[in-house]
């Protein structure tokens, strides 16, 4: 098992997996691991909220269990479900065999053999390598009833299945919740978690991220790409590009064998960083050229 006894160690562990975390994120991750508290990450799309769960799982050698939230997510798809077809067959088999003792049958039908476990239940069960990393992704997509349902799971690390009873995790899983803040998550849930707002990184850190994620890109190209995206975030856009977009764009440019940015290349590949037609129209052409000139001047001066 990895060493996670200090904030520095957590920072090193994340860095070894290619995740460049700032001190604040390293601190809160350390606290989440040390205190056994869920980690609640909020921020714009594409700043690396989901990624940290994946990195934690690989770094600590744990299993990653992911629960993707969506509207109408219910206990059947989050905790467990009974295998009805198999249960029906079991009933027919019992009839054929002549055993009709209701108590026995009920015991039989609602046993582990017929239970299909879903992410939450799976995370409460012992896993090879230690307690798993449970990623509850995009919590803001689900509705309030499900949030309320999560309270039990996150504060006591237990889930209740009516037919069986309460299943409690022997060792609490490492829980990471993410939200894009399309709506406000209830305070009762936030109170049980350690909260962190993941911001867009500063220039130096974004350079480090790009170096870790797209190492093939030349220093020159990386500097231009990062500086351009950073400038773009200062523009009046409907959706600002995240770090994921920066990495995507750098990879796109690499695939096209681009050595340095030019207005034409930017116009051709703008779809990799801007995802709204209004934004693309606003930036395309003259604005892109102006931004690029500013970037060149700034990099030249530095």
């Amino acid at each position: 098992m990895q060493d996670i006894t200090s904030i520095d160690a957590v920072e090193r562990m994340l860095a070894a997996q290619g995740y460049v975390a700032d001190r604040a994120l390293a601190t809160i991750t350390f606290l989440a691991l040390r205190l056994g508290r869920p980690l609640f990450l909020e921020g714009a799309a594409g700043v690396g909220k989901t990624e940290i769960a994946k990195v934690l799982a690989t770094g600590l050698g744990r299993r990653l269990i992911r629960l993707q939230c969506y509207e109408g997510l219910d206990a059947a798809s989050a905790v467990c479900e009974w295998n009805f077809a198999a249960q029906m067959i079991a009933i027919r088999a019992a009839e054929a065999a002549g055993t009709t003792d209701p108590e026995h049958l009920r015991h039989e039908l609602f046993s582990d053999a017929f239970l299909i476990s879903r992410p939450l239940l799976e995370a409460m069960r012992p896993q090879p390598g230690g307690p798993p990393v449970l990623l509850i992704d995009e919590l803001d997509r689900t509705d309030e009833p499900f949030e309320a349902f999560l309270l039990e799971a996150l504060s006591d690390f237990q889930v209740t299945v009516p037919e069986i009873g309460t299943i409690r995790a022997e060792a609490p899983p490492i829980v990471v919740l993410t939200s894009n803040r399309t709506r406000e998550v209830h305070d009762a849930l936030k109170r049980r978690c350690l909260y962190h707002w993941v911001d867009y990184p500063a220039f130096e850190r974004e350079m480090a991220i790009l170096a870790a994620r797209a190492p093939e890109a030349s220093e020159q190209l990386s500097r231009e790409v990062v500086a351009f995206v950073q400038r773009l975030r200062g523009e009046d856009l409907f959706k600002k590009p995240g770090v994921a977009e920066t990495i995507d764009w750098a990879r796109c440019l690499l695939a096209l064998d681009v050595i340095a940015l030019s207005p034409e290349v930017i116009s051709d590949t703008l779809g990799a960083i801007l995802k709204y037609q209004d934004d693309i129209q606003r930036i395309e052409g003259a604005t892109a050229k102006r931004l690029l000139d500013e970037v060149r001047r700034e990099l030249g001066a530095a």
Binding site: M1, S6, I7, R23, A24, T27, I28, F30, L31, R34, L35, G36, R37, F40, E42, E71, G72, D74, A76, W82, F84, Q87, M88, I91, R92, A94, E95, T100, D101, P102, L105, R106, L109, F110, G130, P131, D143, P145, E163, E170, A171, P172, R181, T182, R183, E184, D187, K190, R191, L194, Y195, H196, W197, D236, F238, D278
Partner: protein, 420 residues
Amino acid sequence: MARLPDLALPENPQLVANLVHFARALRKAGLPIGPGRVLDATRAVAAAGFTEKRDFYWTLHACFVSRPEHRETFAQVFRLFWRDPRYLEHMMSLLLPSLQGVQEERAAEAAEKRAAEALIDGAEPPPAPPQQEEETEVEIDASGTASGVEALRTLDFEQMSAAELARARAMLSRLALPVAPLGSRRSQAAVRGRRPDWPRTLRAAARRGGEVERFARRRPRTRWPDLVALCDISGSMSVYSRVMLHFLHTVASQQGAGWARVHAFTFGTRLTNVTRHLRGRDVDVALAAAGAEAQDWQGGTRIGGCLRAFNRDWARRVLGPGATVVLITDGLDRDDPALLAAEMERLHLSARRLIWVNPLLRWDGFAPRAAGIRAMLPHVDCLRAGHSLATLEDLAGALSSARDAGEKPRLLAAMRAAEG
């Protein structure tokens, strides 16, 4: 990793006391912090150690902050509390001018001021200036004859006397907006549902020794939609916007009467979120608070710019699935019509239904001539007048029926004819 043993509280009682004081200061600055979080914070500090100030900052940040807008307040309180007690005294002297008699000093930032206020126990903020509401005559017995009520219903708000306006408001607060529920993706048990309910069927079967007597069923559950109101408070709309805010307060305070959540925004030259103020139970207090928050009463209008601000900052947060948007404005805009049209289109794309309430429709010969109105008209689902109680009742009908388009087809045809 086994379940972690409970960490002992730090030995240093001074630190714990300081953390408690710090938490109280944060609470006064408006952060929702209970004793549980203080306990968490002491544990967290014990776990993270006390090596670097930066780490100490982020440790406490992790425990006490749960919303992005609280970060700035936290930073200021932290800076004041953990650094220099003398600076705190300085801030106190700023906040208690009556004791010191000195007021010039230096101007404090807003968050800093709030932080300092929170740190000083018992320093009351200066009382708000008394509300300058016009004299309203409260008529407790509704003695108006039926014909009097009828006349009031159709009277233009702008032509009402103060007394009539007060009575109209009283009638307004009894007006309800019926809401049509939306289908949800969740389902519930029902006798005549269409989907089979396997868990219930099997549970019943197990009780009867494996005999399936009949299939249990489920049907889709319904849920209530959200309402978002954008209310123009510029000079040309002043009387109507006050009445509309009153109306919105009525809608927002009818808990459990339909709408899941009601968000309200005002705009003139800039956009203000007044949702929180409209939750106050007393309508006058609520409206006064909303009025104090919105700084641009009766100024000019920049509809396009304000809608842009709404689309960018709020649309993704308040326009959840199935929200209905009510836009209350006369459409007389000073901005570029192209910007207004683009922002209206975006708003229309992200709302389930966009209803435009325009008091200008009270004029019989109203025609869409102004550039702003021409830009907005194609992008709304429904256009309604909102200048009298009767038209507001019609609006209630428009909200509950999904097909109602109000005056839109007529005006759109007039607009096309004028263009063609």
